[in-house]
Structure formats: structure tokens, C-alpha cells
């Protein structure tokens, strides 16, 4: 798996012998100089680095190294593409609680295209994207949220350009791609059965670029910023796990880091949302918690000003940072129960391995038809009741 892939645009690998600024001065065009020009003192910079280290889940002993690398790092161009998505990932980031640090990190990148955030629209916006790609060919970071529909290019277009074409075109000159959110990383909700648009993830299309998967629905904002900070700091992408996620954030399961884990070990479970176990804060495994199979940083990084995370609020983890989390068989079904109706699955499986694809497709169609049968349209009269 990709490890410490060095890219252009971040901090230089080693401090150059010649031209190294004397202590107390900063090299022109670097992030250190940009911060100083914004009136951020060295002491403020140290605070920034300490918080960045915490954000990147790096040990505090790394703070001096982060400070040293960030001072020398260059401002990278970032192009952000949004495809089949709900804008929740952008909302997560722009509503992030650590406003000072995150706004500083955003000040330290050149966000050259983001069709939700930028003032320009239509042809002017596309011209900005093309100009940024040309000027920074080979060096810019490409951020993608949302899945890409393959069934019909017309399902999702931007300025008349299909998502597929825009992704392929923009990926050509990218130094690396950050797939943000479960839709971009694994197809997400658009990819859920029966996947009406033929939605796929970024890494099913782009095969020749380093891709960092930052899944979550939405991802934790500081995880998104942490990946950017890592790139700014080290000029490289972080070490990734077997499905392309940075190990620093996705290296441990929610279950392993959960403060309710000791209840699991003792066999103390909430059986319903209002029983004694629920009131005493016991383990939510039997209420369908996907913590044991979900890898993310929620249990330590937390949400909403570090207030809590779903399990702390009394709700099981949905497993939103895992592939196919929407098709996991039910949010409130314990992991120990089978996810499909075994009798039906057995019938289709009996069709044999050679027709496995047909069997899965038939199962999906059966599910879709069943959903359609039970679907009742709500009328105005119903709302008045």
C-alpha cells in the first residue's frame, strides 16, 4: 500500500544547505512567511502546530518537526470537484469548530475551484479550473466529493461536462487525489442497492494517481483538514490502509477506542433505547452498533466542538466510513445477525458461481420490486390528518 509518497508542493524533503534562512527569518513564498505576513507570531505558530499535530493524530513530540516543515512548505493549488453528493462533506468542513486553525489551513492553500464556494459560475468557473490546471500541471491537489454515475453521463453534469469526463480531465495533472466522503471513496448512498445511476467511486476510474480515501458520511472535518495539513507539512500522502484510508485516522476501530468498550467486555448491553442498560451507558452492540467493523476517529476526535460522538449520545455507530454501509442489512440489526434473508440468498446462490452476477442482480431487482410494492405515496390529505 502507498506509503509516504513524496509529491511536489509541500515541504522540501531536506532543508537545503545553501539558502537556508537564518534563525529568525523566513524564506519568501513559504507558509511560514504567509503566516507571519498575517501577523501570526512565532508563539501563535507554535500553537497552530500543536493543534495541527493533535488534528493529524501525531504524537506531540512531532510538534517541532511540523513547525520546521510547515515553515518551509509552499502554497499548493487545490481543485475541488463535487459530483453525485449532498454537499454534506463541504458543510462538514466549512462548519468545522476549529475555525482559527481550519481557516488558517484554508488560507494556506490556493482553493482555485469549488463550484459551491466560489463566486464565479458557469463558463467563468470552468475557465478558473482550466487555468489552475494549466498553471499547476503535475502539482495541484484534486479533491473530489460525490460518486460518479456510469450508466448515463446525463445523470450528473457540471457546465454540460459529465462527471466522468471532468474527473478524467482534472486527474491528468494532479499530484494526488483526495476522495472526500463515502460517495467519492466507495460510491456511498448513490451506490446503494439498486444503484440506479451506476454510481462508482473515484478509485474505480482513476488508476494511475495516488488516491487518499477520506470516507465518512460526512467525514470528520478535522480529518479532512488533517489530511491537507499532512500534505502541507510533509509534502507527501500519509500511510494508507488496505482500502486507501490514512492509518492515523482510520487505523483503529470505533469499538477499540470506544469508552463503552469495557461494558462489551463484561457482557453488559443495552437491549432497547430506554432500558436500564441504555440509561447506564452500556454497550450498544445489540442495538446494531457497527463500531466493531468501522474504522474511524469519531471516538477520540468527536464532533461538534469535541462535544461527543453518536455512541456518546446513545445511538449505535452506523458504520458510515465503511464500503456499502447503506446495504449492511439494517442500522439496528446486531452485527451477529445475517444481513440477508438466508432462504432467498441460498436459492440465488444455488444458481451456481458462473451466474453469480445474474443472481446478485436478480436479488437486487427483487429488493427493488419489493420496495416499490410497499411504497405508498403521501397525499395532501395524509398530511392534513
Amino acid at each position: 500500500m502507498t506509503k509516504d509518497v513524496r509529491l511536489q508542493g509541500g515541504a522540501p524533503e531536506e532543508a537545503p544547505e545553501k539558502g537556508t534562512p537564518e534563525k529568525g527569518t523566513l524564506e519568501k513564498g513559504t507558509l511560514g512567511e504567509a503566516l507571519r505576513s498575517q501577523g501570526v507570531s512565532r508563539r501563535g505558530f507554535m500553537k497552530f502546530c500543536a493543534t495541527t499535530a493533535s488534528m493529524m493524530a501525531l504524537p506531540p513530540s512531532m510538534i517541532p518537526l511540523i513547525a520546521n516543515a510547515l515553515e518551509k512548505a509552499r502554497r499548493p493549488s487545490v481543485i475541488w470537484l463535487s459530483f453525485q453528493e449532498c454537499t454534506g462533506c463541504t458543510e462538514s468542513l466549512t462548519r468545522a469548530h476549529t475555525t482559527t486553525v481550519e481557516s488558517l489551513i484554508f488560507d494556506l492553500i490556493s482553493l482555485d475551484y469549488h463550484h459551491t464556494l466560489q463566486a464565479a459560475s458557469g463558463a467563468a468557473a470552468e475557465a478558473a479550473r482550466e487555468a489552475a490546471m494549466e498553471e499547476n500541471f503535475g502539482n495541484y491537489l484534486l479533491v473530489v466529493d460525490g460518486s460518479i454515475p456510469l450508466d448515463n453521463p446525463g445523470y450528473s453534469t457540471i457546465a454540460g461536462i459529465s462527471n466522468l469526463d471532468m474527473l478524467k480531465e482534472s486527474a491528468k495533472g494532479a499530484a494526488a487525489i483526495i476522495a472526500v466522503g463515502t460517495c467519492a471513496t466507495y460510491g456511498g448512498i448513490p451506490h446503494a442497492n439498486p444503484n440506479p445511476t451506476g454510481a462508482v467511486s473515484v478509485n474505480e476510474i482513476i488508476k494511475d494517481k495516488p488516491i487518499i480515501n477520506v470516507p465518512g458520511c460526512p467525514p470528520i472535518p478535522v480529518v479532512i483538514t488533517g489530511v491537507l495539513a499532512h500534505y502541507l507539512t510533509f509534502g507527501s500522502i500519509p500511510e494508507l490502509d488496505h482500502i486507501g484510508r490514512p492509518k492515523v485516522f482510520y487505523g483503529q476501530s470505533i469499538h477499540d477506542r470506544c469508552y463503552r468498550r469495557p461494558f462489551y467486555d463484561k457482557g453488559q448491553f443495552a437491549e432497547t433505547f430506554d432500558d436500564e442498560g441504555a440509561r447506564k451507558g452500556w454497550c450498544l452492540y445489540k442495538l446494531g452498533c457497527k463500531g466493531p467493523t468501522t474504522y474511524n476517529a469519531c471516538a477520540t476526535t468527536k464532533w461538534n466542538n469535541g462535544t461527543s460522538f453518536p455512541i456518546e449520545s446513545g445511538h449505535p455507530c452506523l458504520g458510515c466510513s465503511e464500503p456499502d454501509f447503506w446495504d449492511g442489512g439494517g442500522f439496528y440489526k446486531p452485527l451477529s445477525l445475517p444481513t440477508e434473508d438466508l432462504s432467498k440468498t441460498a436459492v440465488y446462490t444455488a444458481a451456481g458461481a458462473a451466474v453469480a452476477g445474474v443472481a446478485i442482480s436478480a436479488l437486487n431487482r427483487a429488493k427493488k420490486n419489493a420496495s416499490n410494492r410497499i411504497h405508498i405515496k403521501t397525499t395532501i390529505d395524509d398530511l392534513r390528518k
Binding site: 507570531s41 507554535m46 486553525v101 469508552y259
Partner: protein
């Protein structure tokens, strides 16, 4: 929503949840021994440890307050104080909305962020020289 009709949440948090408090206090003890014997400082990031509701407060309350209390006003505020255990400091960084962005226990003689930084001193010297030159020019009536 009318207060009388607001839903009442009553999620019980038992004191028995504090499994990580003692190990952290022992980690601090080890860090203090290291500082004393080898002069080597340590930092513990409180946000990297799984803590139950109320556990962070329990740790902070166990450490108490010592003789030194400082406040930084840079990129939001920061509160730094020595706990009642000399050499053990609690460093809390806030953003401009007064939300905590990071919190560390530093076991050291003095946290680095409190020291005057060489770069800032260089900048201060430049500023003072400019100020004196400007005032001398003004005093001469040039």
C-alpha cells in the same frame, strides 16, 4: 421550544466509567520521574485518548491548580497553568469562538509556548529600532 415541553434527556453517566483516569495519572508519574532523572520533558495529548463523558474533568480536577497561571492572546486564547504537582502543566488552546481546539498535559519545567521565541524577539528588535529612529527624527524636527 417551550421549556415545559422540552424533551428531557437523562443519560446516566456512572462514576465507574473512569477507566482511563488512573492510567493517565500513572503516565504523568512516569513522565515526572523522567523529567527529574533525565531532564526530558513529555507531552500527553488529551484528545488522543478515549475518554468517557466526565473523565477529562476528573483528570483535570485530580491535578488541581498550582502557583502559576498564564493566558496567551494569540489565534484565540490559550490557558496555561501549573497544576498542584510542580512540573505538570495543563495547556488548553481555544479558537476565536472560545471552543477548545487542543488540550495537552505537559510535564516540563516551563512549556515552550510560554517562552519568548527567537523569531519574535528578532521582530521586536526591528520594531524597537524603527520606533527609536522615528522618534529621534521627530525630536530633531526633521
Amino acid at each position: 421550544m417551550n421549556q415545559a415541553h422540552a424533551p428531557q434527556f437523562n443519560i446516566h453517566v456512572g462514576t465507574e466509567l473512569t477507566w482511563n483516569v488512573k492510567p493517565i495519572l500513572h503516565e504523568i508519574r512516569h513522565a515526572l520521574e523522567k523529567l527529574l532523572n533525565d531532564g526530558e520533558p513529555s507531552i500527553i495529548d488529551l484528545r488522543s485518548i478515549p475518554l468517557a463523558p466526565g473523565e477529562e474533568e476528573t483528570i483535570i480536577n485530580s491535578l488541581g491548580h498550582g502557583e502559576v497561571h498564564a493566558r496567551l492572546d494569540v489565534l484565540g486564547s490559550s490557558e496555561i497553568y501549573e497544576t498542584r504537582f510542580t512540573g505538570v502543566w495543563l495547556v488548553t488552546h481555544y479558537n476565536e469562538d472560545d471552543s477548545i481546539v487542543s488540550r495537552f498535559i505537559e510535564v516540563t519545567e516551563i512549556p515552550d509556548v510560554l517562552k519568548s521565541q527567537r523569531e519574535d524577539v528578532t521582530h521586536a528588535l526591528d520594531e524597537l529600532v524603527t520606533k527609536l529612529e522615528t522618534e529621534e527624527t521627530y525630536d530633531r524636527g526633521d
